[in-house]
Symmetry: C2
């Protein structure tokens, strides 16, 4: 376990948190097993940083609110038909409860995108895919309004104590800004939250425009 | 939304809760939207029943602990290559915390298998699948030792207030008994729990035998 998850788009490397994984495993590295350990949750998680600006990852994210899963999602053609990966998205419970009320995310929202291996043959299963094995990367999307220029930032988890910041020039920032349905997050892929955003009127102008331009609209 | 989820195996209809959905939508029926509403969770859910023996479904299961997701899982060849469905599995938090300590499930464990539509083209996604739309069926697996002959029972959610019991002769019972990794549940498809069961030595004899019989073992 522990194959690296990165996103290669047009020759550049970009993160893509929050439901669109677009991932190619590049190489093995230290497993994130400790991060996925199903820890007893204690007090609510609040983003905290090291003196170097790294984020301290939440160890209890598997006990947070589940939002969605994708399989092999990509905005580019699939390069390796034999490689499959799930991506699961979680959000901290406090932010989720706020979203239910408002249709958007409060300050200190933390979303986790977890890659998981996808197996097909195993036990009684012969068709389709199931999740198997350890993590294949973790990325974190944090809203910390007073800390980041665009309010949000992306981090790549390196170990159970360290997640490094993606620079503001990384493609993930512009892609989320230009295409995400709510407050730079891909709520269009979160089936229980999209109706809430629609009802609350919090869909982004960019996403609304994208919807209007779809064939048949 | 609301296509019925059923499992057709060798001409019979069987449920299949807990991660192996094996599902074919048979016909539309009343949507379970209210059941999937992201309700505020209150006190811990305890299984309760109507005087007719129906289970009152948990409305807050989307706020429970997420275990896994499959896409198009089946133990039979896929009959309709154009139909895709995800299945998400959740368990009540109290049972999850007990599993972390013991490697098996306590009395009053409640697991929910939720079907969700799988879309491919949408927004910036062009490859793979993402979850979209409403539920495509809900099934519940309940451990209630003093109530059911085999300690566990399966229920099919009909509405937000009613889930009907699958009879003990349904295939789901024998399939789970014969193939599931831990206490009639398919922990082999729950990637964060399988290592715990292995460590605690709670794998079923049937699953251990199945593993030993795999090629290369």
């Amino acid at each position: 376990m522990g194959s690296r998850v990165r996103v290669v788009v047009a020759g550049t490397v970009a993160c893509c948190a929050a439901a669109l994984v677009l991932a190619y495993p590049m190489h093995d590295r230290t497993a994130h097993a400790a991060v996925s350990a199903a820890a007893e949750s204690g007090a609510p998680y609040t983003p905290s940083y090291t003196k170097d600006g790294d984020l301290v990852p939440p160890v209890q994210y598997r006990e947070w609110i589940y939002l969605t899963t994708g399989l092999d999602m990509s905005y580019t053609p699939k390069s390796n038909p034999d490689m499959h990966m799930f991506d699961n998205v979680f959000v901290n419970p406090e932010a989720y409860r706020s979203f239910l009320q408002t249709g958007t995310w409060p300050d200190k929202t933390v979303m986790v995108l977890e890659g998981r291996g996808a197996a097909s043959k195993g036990s009684i299963n012969t068709t389709g895919h199931f999740q198997s094995g350890g993590q294949m990367g973790l990325e974190i999307h944090v809203k910390d309004e007073s800390r980041f220029p665009g309010k949000w930032a992306f981090f790549d988890v390196q170990s159970e104590t360290k997640a490094t910041l993606f620079p503001q020039t990384a493609n993930c920032y512009s892609c989320h800004a230009e295409h995400a349905a709510v407050d730079t997050t891909f709520v269009q892929f979160y089936p229980t939250l999209l109706p809430i955003a629609q009802k609350k009127g919090t869909l982004s102008a960019a996403y609304t425009k994208e919807l209007a331009a779809q064939p048949g609209k």
